[in-house]
Amino acid sequence: MSELAVQPRHNVRFLVAGFVPYLLAVVAAFLAAGIFIAAMGFNVPEAYSSILFTSFRTPTAFIQTLLKFVPLMLMALGFAVPLKANKFNIGLEGQLILGAIGATAAGILLADLPAFLLLPMAILAGILFGALWAALPAWLLYRFNINEILTTVLMNFVAFSLMDYIATEVWGDPGAGHPTTIPIAPGAYMPLLVSSPPLNAGILIALLTAVVVYIYTNRTVSGYELGATGSNPRASMVYGINTRTMFLLSLIIGGALAGLAGAIEVTGVQHRLIEGMQSNYLQLGIIIGLIAKGNIRAIPLVAFFIAVLEVGASAMQRTMMIPVEIVFIVEALILIFILLADVIRRR
């Protein structure tokens, strides 16, 4: 629950002991994937190099990595906060989509507003829509004690259909070959920090959000109650914590974070709602959250690492024809090896 484990005299040893298993897990996962790559007849060192270093070879690639980092980190936070209360928010995908829909709606419907109003409205709409999308499963949990894994997943599928509807019937762009909406008003565009290659200010919002989340979970009374609820709901209830409200709140916060990710994607990167924008952020967000073991401070680091892998993976598929799924399997294997490392450490 607490990330304040202060070990006064063993700082260096503690850090090393903490990192080594992670490092080994990564190495083991890469080795396993290497076998696969070799079996398929591809050049292993070249593949590794592509996966790991593409992000650092050109400014474009680096910016691309940062752009991927933003939604990945926010999604991971959206998974980690409910995880503190021992709830599994698998509905991040739908919440992201609803956030994107919210931002798009604001960007199209309120197009006449001046930029300094329109952009914040779009972001807020995204956060709100995402939170609301999580609120329904949260309420079902609160009122009927229905397992949130199921309900949040079901909401994902409803969100897909909704996105399709909006991207084809409501604000569909007839000229596009793929379900996409018309662009949002320029007033809702996120300002650029770097213009070429384009890096939008969303990254600042995201990093700030991570700090706020950390302060919330570790320094507020509500954050304490969240962690206590996840650690022992019965004991928390006996000592006066309203655990059912905590479960509800944790999922809504998760939805808000995913919604923010969606809003930033729309206002910062695509400037419209494109079907499929959710990509594989859900799976990656959960993997990041689990690899980081729900530790808020570790999430930005792990998210960046995964972003590097993902950029590397697409480059690898483009240049070497190796399927990107290899990297996805590497990521899943890292998780599994870390779980194994935990088991060994316990013995």
Partner: protein
């Protein structure tokens, strides 16, 4: 008069056809769940089942080998689940999600490796119907129940068998006891690891078969979106069926019915945009869950690992 009758029959036949993956995946979930193992990897396992079944059938020319391979693959995932939870005591949801991701990546990876990128997706022949001599001639019922593909028969027989196994044999008595109170079962010499491993593997095989059904009966191809959430829906169905094989069977029928109706309505060109009709099964499931929440039947130790030397069950 004839027209409506024929329509009802064809609808009912379609429902029977549609319920199979749900029955198989849910019963597989139920079986392991009854010993306390909560599998949440179904979506990934079904994808692997679908992919493996398609590829093996494509390469070997035999649908049977495809089914076998899918069952084997599913069984392996079940084995992994049992190993990580029962022997290593890892949190069941975490390893379930990890296996889900693995299945997700592996299924597409295998397809891309074997088939590569093609303009025209390759096809396999789909499973044909096998009419049971005599019985299939009965008007109405005959065509619905006795003129289907083998997996439909399997699903029906499986459900009957599982009901009998769980409630009428001492094996079932012991199995259910583990899910209710593992410490009590252990103290009486019942081997928790054996039951959990076996049910996880068999359950995994069923889930793999559920995945195999999709390319082999519906489409004849494999795509990344072929499972379309049925793995998750299977979990909901298991809850709705109160973790009881007979109720799960009827729940699956009900669910398949909704899916078929939604499709029919869509085809009819009703004024509702088709996207909302697509939402229907999922929304219906959530409503169903509200009713299921009142029902008794969830194994008390579901989702919790057991360690003999610990005082409480492990999260």
């Amino acid at each position: 008069m004839e027209g409506i009758g024929a329509q009802v029959v064809s609808l009912a036949k379609l429902v029977m056809l549609t319920m199979v993956p749900y029955v198989l995946a849910s019963q597989g979930t139920m079986l392991a769940g009854r010993t306390g193992l909560f599998n949440v990897a179904q979506e990934g396992v079904m994808l692997v089942g679908a992919s493996v079944a398609f590829l093996v059938a494509y390469l070997s020319g035999s649908l049977f080998y495809g089914l076998l391979a899918a069952a084997l693959a599913g069984g392996l995932f079940g084995l992994a689940l049992a190993y990580f939870t029962t022997t290593l005591k890892v949190n069941q949801f975490v390893i379930g999600l990890a296996l889900f991701f693995t299945g997700l990546g592996l299924s597409t990876l295998l397809y891309k490796y074997v088939i590569g990128v093609t303009l025209q997706p390759p096809l396999i022949p789909t499973l044909g119907d096998v009419a049971i001599p005599g019985l299939s001639r009965i008007p109405f019922v005959g065509e619905i129940l006795f003129d289907q593909n083998v997996l439909v028969y399997f699903a029906i027989l499986l459900s009957i068998f599982l009901y009998y196994l769980l409630y009428r044999t001492s094996l079932g008595l012991e199995l259910r006891a583990i899910g209710e109170n593992p410490k009590a079962a252990d103290s009486l010499g019942i081997s928790i690891p054996i039951y959990r491993y076996v049910t996880a593997i068999v359950g995994g095989m069923l889930i793999g078969l559920a995945g195999a059904y999709l390319p082999m009966v519906y489409t004849g191809t494999f795509t990344a979106g072929i499972v379309k959430g049925r793995g998750w829906l299977a979990i909901a169905l298991t809850f709705f069926g109160g973790w009881a094989p007979h109720l799960i069977f009827f729940g699956s029928l009900f669910f398949a019915g909704i899916e078929v109706l939604a499709f029919r309505v869509q085809v009819r060109g009703v004024a509702i945009p088709y996207q909302f009709l697509l939402m229907l099964p999922y929304v219906a499931t959530m409503l169903i869950m509200i009713f299921a929440s009142k029902r008794v039947g969830i194994p008390a130790a579901l989702g919790l690992n057991y360690d003999r030397e610990r005082r409480t069950l492990l999260d």
